[in-house]
């Protein structure tokens, strides 16, 4: 399981070059408070707050989006209810709360698999 994003203020990946006088919006990323500007996509919010959007399922590291046009499908995250959000095509709204790792509500690990992982044999 991947670590949560680093705390706000430690440096994002994207650099804002203009349009910085927009009203601020407040959101939560992995339970941490974050700010974005009105009109930001969720991807921009994630990458001005920190340096990643998600972690690859297959062990090759963190990902931070790729195409920004809804084609590569590399920037999917979740809201707290477990709904999927494509970060590059989702507009930030006030109070949005997102998870960059699958929340328990989205695909629960079954007691059986949890038991197997603890080494308890089931029959």
């Amino acid at each position: 399981m991947s670590k949560p994003l680093p705390p706000a203020g430690s440096g994002g990946r994207f650099v804002r070059l203009a349009e910085t006088s927009r009203p601020a919006l407040h959101l939560r990323i992995d339970g941490e408070p974050a700010t974005a500007l009105e009109g930001d996509t969720l991807l921009v919010a994630l990458l001005t707050h920190g340096r990643r959007v998600r972690t690859s399922e297959f062990g090759d590291g963190t990902r931070a989006g790729f195409c920004l046009m809804g084609a590569c499908q590399d920037c999917w995250v979740w809201d707290e209810a477990g709904q999927r959000l494509r970060a590059c095509s989702t507009v930030v709204t006030e109070g949005l709360a997102v998870r960059t790792t699958p929340p328990a509500s989205s695909w629960p690990v079954t007691p059986e698999v949890a038991a197997r992982e603890r080494g308890e044999v089931s029959s």
Binding site: E57, W107, T110
Partner: protein, 388 residues
Amino acid sequence: MSDTTQQRSDVLIVGGGLMGTTTALFLRRHHGLRVTLLERELIGRQASGTNFGNVRRQGRDLAQIPLANRARAVWGRVNELLGEDLEFAPLGHLRVCYTEAQAAKLEQHVRDVQPLGLDLKMFSADALRRRWGIFSDAVVAGSLSPVDGHANPRLAGPAFGRAAQRAGAHIHEHSEVAHIERVGTEFVAHTVDGRQYRAAQLLVTTGAWSARFAQAFGEPVPLDARGPQMGVTEPLPYAIAPSIGVSTPIEEEGLYFRQIARGNIVFGGGLKGPALADVVRAYVKPDNTLRQLRELRRFVPAFANVQLIRVWSGIEGYTDDWVPVMGPSARVPGLHYAFGFNGEGFAISPGVGEVMAELIATGRTSTPIDAFAIGRFATAPQSQPITT
């Protein structure tokens, strides 16, 4: 004529899906016979490669259980046998149901299969919740076959083919058979590009395309081609070990799914789609996909948060009576068949291969297959066997 155009073997197998390749392997490994297999296009690409991948024994017609048990024994050592990983996950096969009436049927099935060597375990709704916790309130009961499970159909056929080849079988892809004739005591298969292959015995394992070969030997079989409607999701955290399906008399409800180790969930079931054997095309109907999504959500609510990334279909052969065609010809000595597995051939294919190899090599098999005899379709009394 050169050797290559008049190749002679002990056994000629036409059709390179799992039934053909498993038989080829066991003919070599267990019986040492010379084998040639002719596949129209690529090994394992049709029904063998597009099916759901269930390795299950419960829910089958009772006549198939001995064959399924035999197959399960091979699955248990399949990676060793082939030297390749078929991703066989014997972590259980679970059938759930929506009504008490269906639960009673599951319970009856538990009693029916127990003397045949299959031990199933019933679960109440509560017990299902405690063990898996993913089912909606609509699910009232379930039946688990603890050591069944699933494997990877994309890999299986080609892996059996390669193993058969390493064991000395001659496997020819891109070798469509135009017609087969009987010359003396031999069978001669002619490919569309003019090659000829001869053998004393012939096995027809051409899946949905088998009717014309059976017909040519005077044994017509009513065979229908249908397309399984399959789908796969994005990868999700690994959470579900058994292969799971809904047991129901209502065709539209009959969904099944399995999660692979990489996390994707493969699903199928419900109504079949159009499969056009003559042009080798099969389609997934969009309304079937949407209905499947609805039925999946109905039985596992967490599916609502998941994304479908791909659908596919295939070409499966279905007989009128839902019973496979397997065994010797009723008319022609040396001719054998194994086709028409009604969309549930994957699980039993290694057993079919062992049995057919045994039958072809020794004239008999220890596993009961009389119920699958092609003779049951004969409308006239059996006449003299064909000799030309």
